[in-house]
Amino acid sequence: MALPPLDSPQWQTSFRAFLWGARSIGATVLTLVLFATYLGIGALAHDSGFSLGWTLASTAFVWAGPAQIIVITTLGSGATVLQSAIAVTVSAIRLFPMVVSVLPMMRTEDTKRRHLILVAHLTAVTLWVECFRFLPQVPRNRRIAFIHGLGLGLVSVCLIANTIGYTLAANLTPLLAAGMLMLTPLAFLFSTARNCRELADVIALVLGLLLFPLAAMLNSGVDILVSGVVAGTIAYGVHRARAGIVRARA
């Protein structure tokens, strides 16, 4: 699907721009990845004992797959609310630089902060990636409407996927139910691997995978935080050491 040229009358109203944004969910393979991920989250929530309404509320109001999975797996395995909240808070910090880098792309002179609240809420890794791809093809004064359409379109796809995943998990054969639950770790592993930009990110991913089983032996209740902080800090240390070597050579 191609968007109309920048000077097309198609962009004259915000409503049209909103519809073009909503239609653009069909123009990206990431929609399919999101669908599979949220199918898996629906199944995971079902098997962890949460209600469908709870699952849909988490998609609509949290709107960050990793955070939703952390809440479901930690609470489902008996961690306290505080432990979950800490793990989610740390995982969500990455939203901060995303929001910071996306908003300047759609600001105009008349943009008030409140016009950007919904855009900030809709910002998550998929939308962040798509902003860089789509927004250059959208007139600046229609970008907020376009992103509202794209973001709400993606949320709708995920709510549908959640409902299907949740319902199927309750009714599928054990084999297919296992397949649905496996979607979550696979989709997240590969999308995280794809987003690794620096060596520190790669080391954090690999060490984070390897250290969790060790941390789980401590049975501390905060295993995820322990392995995350240790692996992340080692990765950052390597990044620093390497930067130091580069500087020393120069």
């Binding site: 399919l32 397949g179 639950l181 954090a204 692996a231």
Partner: protein, 114 residues
């Protein structure tokens, strides 16, 4: 209490543990967005820890699987992830290829084992 919503207590926990910790960062980005360098050292560390936490969650689902996934033997789950990763790399980091191959390996392995 309807079964759709379930326990209101669980919904309150969702807001405390899930919604608020997320929205804080988005709203901080909205308010203080101007002066932050995306490549600052603090954000590099934060990103590394966040990535490692997510990796830990992925490992937790595979190592201590919930529900129906627990019926699949350990070696088959690990093998499926490894096969998916090989496909992901061969297909120029295609998430889709990795997920499909991982699923096929696990489902056919489990089907074959019976």
């Amino acid at each position: 209490m309807s079964t759709f919503i379930g326990d209101w207590h669980a919904l309150a926990i969702l807001f405390v543990a899930g919604v608020i910790p997320n929205q804080i960062w988005r709203m901080l980005g909205l308010w203080f967005g101007g002066g932050i360098d995306e490549n600052s050292e603090l954000l590099v560390w934060v990103r590394a820890v966040a990535t490692a936490i997510l990796a830990g969650i992925i490992a937790q689902i595979v190592v201590q699987p919930p529900g129906a996934l627990a019926s699949v033997p350990d070696w088959l789950r690990y093998g499926a992830v490894a096969a998916g990763f090989v496909a992901f790399m061969l297909a120029r980091k295609s998430i889709f290829a990795g997920v499909i191959v991982g699923e096929i390996v696990m489902l056919s392995g489990k089907y074959w084992l019976g």
